[in-house]
Amino acid sequence: MVNPLRLREMVSLASFEEGRGRVSMNICRYYRSDYIAFSMIRTFLLTTVGLLIAAALFAAANAEELLDALVYMDIPAVLRQAAAVYLLILSAYLALTFVLAGRRYKEAERQMNDYELHLADLRDLTEVPYSEDTGDDDDFWRT
């Protein structure tokens, strides 16, 4: 006989595994520190690429002015300023990533805890025979 409670749990679990749970499962494969470190390395690389592209686009749009100013420009000072701006933006991004990755890991952990609780519920329902009359198990109370 089909136990509707068990069926509902199974559908809910399958839906979680196929949907939002997939991301949570991937995240929870790592330790928290590893996940955050991996996210920060990715942020470092992508932010560097993004800022390089932004600098290239800015230089391309103002190429004539930049070439004119190159003669009078204190190049080491400009490079120092550019490095300072880069480090400032990078630090902001790394801090944001640290916070977001930590939150994301915590949320994934909470979802996985919830998932495991549901799995335990399903295990209980599988062990207990189902009676249609009461919608619950009679033998359970007799034992």
Binding site: T47, A60, A63, N113
Partner: protein, 337 residues
């Protein structure tokens, strides 16, 4: 109000029965609309913009995750720009990569805010997506909405300067780059971004206040501040924004936001919220507590009770109770009965 309540019930029921087909259809239509929008905004002869190709891409994206819609939009946009000119294509590609690297990768996967904002901002309805994001999402959605606004200005620059780019010499890459980058990243874009940030932030803040009719006030204030920033910011930036179009867009965004509020109960399911709504007979003043916060909580009475939950905003974890002990207790109480 009752009509909207009934409509919501019918829609929920219909979606519950046909969710797979509805999801497929919505994704398909969304990418198709995106494709035709890019095709109409940039009418250059690229193979990617052929209706048959658009149809195939839309069908493909319908079976892929929601993020695929944005990726396909980016590919179509780059293809159209390359059809205009090599320099235009390179600029578009680099701008899209930069937006992804700096902003879009923080965006949530499930909401195609960026393409929607691109279409909205292009046609003058730039307030709609920030207001909706402020109602339903967190301020972090700015990282998705702002790139959408940048894409709208990029498309506008490509469309407006197409003839000038074609008129320039084939090898005058610097001239083309200057024209396109200068056109896209103008002071008007800064004003539009400020308007988007102000609208989303204000909507989020007002709807979180817990005052009477907070959600309605949030929609109206968000739309109004967008109009204010867009018009005055644009003027200060030296542009000449179309006031009538902006006002009509903001009014339409406010109307759409209010209609959506009536159809959907504005809950974000992450924290407890105070809600007020009404039907023909009653006013309801409700405190909504997400089930996830109390789902596994078992109090001393053995059941979840809102009064026993210490603080609604914190997730509650079921205390460790030995199953055998629990069964024994239950048996004892039954024997007593």
């Amino acid at each position: 109000m009752t009509i909207f309540g009934g409509l919501k019930d019918k829609l929920t029921l219909f979606y519950g029965r046909n969710s797979a087909a509805v999801d497929f259809l919505v994704r398909f239509l969304f990418v198709l609309a995106e494709g035709f929008f890019i095709r109409s905004a940039l009418p250059f002869d690229a193979i990617l913009s052929h209706p048959a190709v658009l149809l195939v891409l839309s069908l493909t994206s319908a079976v892929l995750p929601a993020k695929a819609g944005a990726v396909i939009g980016a590919v179509l946009l780059t293809g159209q720009a390359f059809a205009l000119d090599l320099a235009a294509g390179a600029v578009t590609f680099l701008v899209l990569v930069m937006l992804y690297c700096l902003f879009m990768r923080f965006a949530p996967d499930d909401f195609p805010a960026a393409p929607l904002e691109t279409m909205g901002a292009y046609y003058g309805f730039g307030a709609l997506v920030p207001v909706l994001c402020g109602l339903r999402r967190k301020p972090l959605s700015l990282l998705t909405v702002c790139p959408g606004c940048v894409c709208a200005f990029l498309i506008r620059a490509l469309s407006e300067h197409a003839e000038e780019v074609r008129a320039l010499e084939q090898t005058d890459y610097m001239g083309k780059l200057k024209l396109l980058i200068g056109g896209a990243f103008s002071d008007e874009l800064t004003a539009a971004l400020a308007a988007v940030i102000a609208a989303l932030t204000l909507t989020y803040l007002v709807r979180s206040l817990g005052i009477r009719h907070a959600h309605e006030a949030a929609v109206l204030s968000g739309s109004a501040i967008y109009l204010l920033f867009y018009v005055f910011g644009g003027r200060i930036a030296g542009g000449s924004p179309d006031v009538m179009l902006a006002a009509a867009g903001s009014a339409a965004s406010a109307a759409a936001g209010l209609i959506l509020l009536m159809v959907m109960l504005p809950l974000d399911y992450r924290k407890s919220e105070r809600l007020e709504f009404e039907d023909d007979g009653y006013y309801y003043y409700v405190r909504a507590i997400p089930k996830a916060h109390g789902k596994h909580y078992v109090g001393e009475s053995g059941a979840f009770s809102a009064n026993t939950v210490p603080g609604y905003d914190e997730p509650i974890i079921r205390p460790d109770i030995d199953d055998d002990e629990l069964k024994k207790k239950l048996e004892d109480s039954l024997n007593d009965l």
